[in-house]
């Protein structure tokens, strides 16, 4: 695809939107992440891969502020965010989805997405009471943004259904929608295709590409399906036992002897490539 390689070039030349510099994290005596650095190019798709327990989710948790790194820095557009609260980081424009779906199961798809916009809402309880008109206007604007996402992810027929009634693949899609509702600059996706069948994976890959292209959102992706990762990533970082062992374009990473060892040397781990 000519268009993709052009996009890739642009992503390589552009500055990095999210920079992680030498972060480490220990839990008791266990080192989950050790001195890992990575750069997510603005408007690109960066994938983090590695065997189970390599520290991928811990790394993502440090970017989104759920964990505080023991050492190192996390910079969003040059601003240090490692010590900020998760809610502040969300407000600065980093949204994420979770490996295990985190939705309000009793609420409808629409309500879940509206909640996703919560951090963007300005009117508090008091101002909603006093400046009723203004709060209502704001509500309409948010609903419009959410409707755009509903259309984008083809959720029209599910709008009023509780998320508990949805199939697994659809719930994953709603979760992506909830993250998008934040209007993020950077989207962290933790195994968005885990447990999906081939059709659902293809749909999800399509949505990720569209999110990246049409909304210009930088994507950081953890995924086990190598086929998908190699297909859609601009850049791949490989972790093994908490360390970064390789980084580069999908082609470079696939040729890297360390990666081959980490995946094949172990004898069984890894995806279908």
């Amino acid at each position: 695809m000519a268009a993709t390689s052009a996009r890739r070039m642009a992503a390589q030349e552009g500055e990095n939107q999210l920079v992680v510099k030498g972060v480490s994290k220990k839990f008791g005596g266990v080192t989950a992440v050790q001195d890992v650095s990575l750069e997510a190019p603005r408007g690109g798709i960066l994938s983090i891969i590695g065997p189970n327990g390599a520290g991928k989710t811990s790394l993502l948790n440090m970017i989104s502020g759920f964990y505080k790194p023991d050492t190192g820095n996390v910079l969003l557009d040059g601003i240090e965010i490692a010590w900020k609260k998760p809610s502040e980081i969300a407000r600065l424009g980093i949204a994420r989805t979770f490996q295990n779906i985190a939705l309000f199961s009793g609420l409808t798809v629409l309500d879940n997405l509206m909640l996703g916009r919560h951090v963007l809402m300005k009117s508090g309880v008091l101002s909603s009471v006093i400046y009723w008109g203004m709060a209502q206007k704001e509500d309409i604007a948010h609903r419009e943004a959410v409707e755009e996402i509903i259309e984008f992810l083809k959720l029209q027929d599910l709008r009023k259904l509780p998320t508990s009634a949805l199939a697994y693949g659809l719930r994953k899609r709603v979760e992506l929608g909830r993250a998008l509702a934040l209007d993020p600059k950077v989207l962290l996706l933790d195994e968005p295709m885990g447990g999906m069948n081939q059709d659902e994976k293809e749909d999800m890959a399509r949505y990720i590409l569209d999110v990246n292209q049409e909304r210009g959102i930088t994507v950081v992706l953890i995924e086990h399906d190598m086929g998908v990762v190699m297909d859609i990533s601009d850049k791949v970082v490989v972790l093994d036992r908490g360390r970064r062992i390789a980084s580069g374009t999908p082609e470079e990473v696939q040729r890297d002897p360390h990666v081959i060892e980490a995946y094949l040397g172990a004898g069984k781990k890894g995806g279908k490539s």
Partner: protein
């Protein structure tokens, strides 16, 4: 006075202009997007059509050129058709779920030069076929989603065509108006490709006169008011949708409402509460099936109440059709039922405001028909054909009857020829098949009568009764007449039977191939703890065969002995349009099925208990694969008197 008598109102786009002048701010067309019904007034609708027409002119579209729309119902696609017609062009809507090979045939045969596609899915299809379509110059898309990486020079966005149109109009401000004025009633408005139960599709040329005359006649005999809401959810390539969403909407100033997506139709229907509704029998049947499933899932009390009032309503409806007065108790019962059951059910179905509903396109089982009528839904039959601009006859409010299709609409003449075939003459009769003079000569007689291909007769009240396709009506080997559809409709009343194909022509007995309804049979099986994996697995279960045998026995009880189904089998896949077993409007292609399943039919009559079937399956993307399996043939005892109670 007919609209056709004035040169200001004798084409569809001229009628749009009239509506925009007479009612500029009234709603013209509506679409649900982003969860909200968004309205274009008649003047906005007209402006879009005018700008798009200018844009088409800028792209080199000329009088007589063909424009195809493909996609789900969208105002933009109606705008595109009217814009093409404004320039004297012809609209050729195609089925959005057609597979590639069918599309190539129709688009090439029609010489389409511009395709207006709804979204990426349709654009992909068009791009894939581009090399095989020498006449195609532009592909215009409405929804840009997913199309960011596409750089084909033939692609244009709908918006950009409107934009080009506005620029073009600055240079030639009167161009479109002049082209519009040049149009006459006898210009071809659209070519409707008939899905055809045999052979390649044929393109029926319908003039503006055809469509306007049909709409005027229909409005004359039906309760249609300006501003009435209409749900435009039927395939745009089906002439029925064109007749209503374009013809009737423009002539009668109805508002066409496009649903949000095919998956939301039912919810949108309920939200909109249209004033009128047209649906093919399949949809009525599936609504009924849904209701039966829902009542089966309800608590015993609710189910009891529902069943009681349903029974009461059906008894009263029967009494009413026989002309007997209802007793006071019955009337009180109906009033109570109206409050507890009938009203809420109509509301759930989205038919609370519907003053009339029609079923058409194929016969509807009388029991299904009676069910809806008994619940206070003014369901009537309409009969038509693509070649007659979709309309031949319909029923008046007081004359609803499941067995007839009503009286011919005004200004058309209908007769039955000596072979029993229905023939008609009138302003709605088409101009012939595009580039198929032979087929045209076979269909229109020298003195101008259109042969419908349907066998029928007039009953004592002068209502037309359609028996079956003339070529399908056969005889059993003992000489008894055999109309397969009649039997199939009886079978299809069962919620467990989705599709049935009956055979018996020149054979000693009637046999049927049954496709089960996956949803209802699945629920039934789950309730009995019967595990299954797929349609094929489910249809092989002996318990399911027993269930269906019971259902067939019920249908047999209402049939004369010789017409009863004696043997049947359960198909291991659904009948599919992609496998050419059904038309795109979901009518069974009987001949094709008979050929495809020749071995099965043979087994029916040589007494075999098992038959090996090898079938070709076509996937949605056109790939094919074959499937070989054993299908059991089941026997049915003659209907025992005990079953008659059911």
């Amino acid at each position: 006075m007919s609209l056709l008598d004035s040169p200001r109102t004798d084409t569809l786009p001229k009628l749009l202009q009239r509506n925009a002048e007479e009612n500029p701010r009234a709603a013209g067309i509506r679409e649900k997007t982003r969860g909200v019904w968004q309205t274009l007034s008649w003047s906005q609708y007209r402006d879009h059509v005018r700008d798009f027409a200018s844009g088409l002119a800028a792209l080199g579209f000329k009088r007589g050129d063909k424009l195809s729309v493909v996609g789900d119902n969208r105002p933009q696609l109606y705008v595109a058709q009217l814009a093409a017609q404004s320039l004297g062009g012809v609209s050729v809507p195609v089925y959005q779920d057609s597979i590639a090979a069918e599309l190539v045939y129709v688009l090439n045969h029609a010489e389409t030069s511009i395709i207006v596609a709804e979204d990426q899915e349709q654009v992909d299809k068009a791009l894939l076929l581009k090399a095989k379509l020498p006449n195609l110059r532009w592909i215009v898309f409405d929804d840009p989603r997913g199309l960011w990486a596409y750089d084909d020079p033939a692609l244009r966005s709908f918006e950009s065509v409107l934009e080009e149109g506005r620029k073009f109009a600055q240079g030639k401000p009167d161009f479109v108006a002049a082209e519009l004025a040049k149009g006459t009633a006898d210009d071809i408005a659209m070519i409707a490709y008939t899905s055809g139960t045999t052979g390649n599709p044929k393109g029926a040329m319908l003039s503006h006169r055809n469509m306007i005359a049909a709409a005027e006649a229909f409005i004359e005999v039906n309760d249609v008011k300006p501003g009435d809401n209409w749900l435009s959810y039927l395939p745009m390539a089906w002439v029925g949708d064109a007749a209503f969403s374009l013809g009737m909407a423009l002539v009668g100033k109805l508002v066409a409402n496009c649903p949000e997506s095919p998956e939301t139709v039912q919810r949108d229907l309920r939200e909109l509460g249209p004033h009128a509704m047209l649906a093919p029998p399949r949809i009525w049947e599936s609504l009924l099936t849904q209701m039966q499933v829902k009542s089966g899932d309800a608590s015993p009390l609710k189910r009891g109440v529902y069943e009681y009032f349903r029974g009461l309503a059906e008894r009263c409806e029967l009494k009413r059709t026989d002309g007997n007065p209802l007793s006071l108790v019955e009337r009180l019962g109906l009033a109570t039922g109206e409050f507890f059951v009938y009203g809420p059910v109509r509301d759930q179905l989205g038919l609370r405001h519907a003053r009339w509903c029609y079923t058409g396109g194929a016969p509807l089982g009388p029991d299904t028909y009676r069910f809806f009528r008994s619940f206070g839904i003014n369901l009537k039959q309409v009969y038509g054909a693509t070649e007659a601009s979709a309309l031949i006859s319909c029923q008046a409010n007081a004359e609803a009857n499941p067995n007839t299709v009503g009286r011919p609409i005004p200004r058309i003449e209908v007769k039955i020829d000596d072979r029993g075939e229905v023939m008609l003459k009138g302003p709605n009769v088409f101009k012939g098949y595009f580039k198929q003079e032979d087929a045209t000569r076979d269909t229109i007689t020298g003195d101008g009568w259109l042969k419908t291909g349907d066998a029928g007769f007039f009953d004592k009240q002068g209502h037309l009764v359609i028996i079956d396709r003339a070529k399908d009506v056969g005889k059993l080997s003992d000489g008894t007449a055999f109309a397969p559809q009649f039997i199939e409709n009886k079978l299809k009343f069962s919620p467990f039977i989705r599709e049935a194909v009956a055979f018996g022509h020149e054979q000693p007995m009637v046999v049927a191939m049954i496709a089960i309804d996956m949803q209802t049979v699945g629920t039934w099986a789950e309730k009995r703890g019967l595990a299954y994996t797929s349609f094929m697995d489910l249809s092989r279960k002996p318990e399911v065969a027993q269930l269906i045998a019971g259902e067939i026995a019920k249908a047999n009880a209402t049939l004369p002995d010789v017409q009863q189904v004696k043997r049947f089998l359960l198909l291991n896949k659904e009948l599919e349009a992609d496998d050419a077993e059904m038309t795109r409007t979901r009518k069974v292609r009987r001949r094709f099925v008979a050929e495809k399943y020749a071995k099965v039919i043979e087994a029916f009559y040589n007494g075999g208990k098992q038959v090996e079937v090898t079938m070709e399956i076509t996937f949605e993307d056109g790939r094919k694969s074959t499937l070989t399996s054993q299908i059991a043939v089941h026997d049915l005892p003659a209907a025992a008197p005990a079953m008659k109670a059911a």
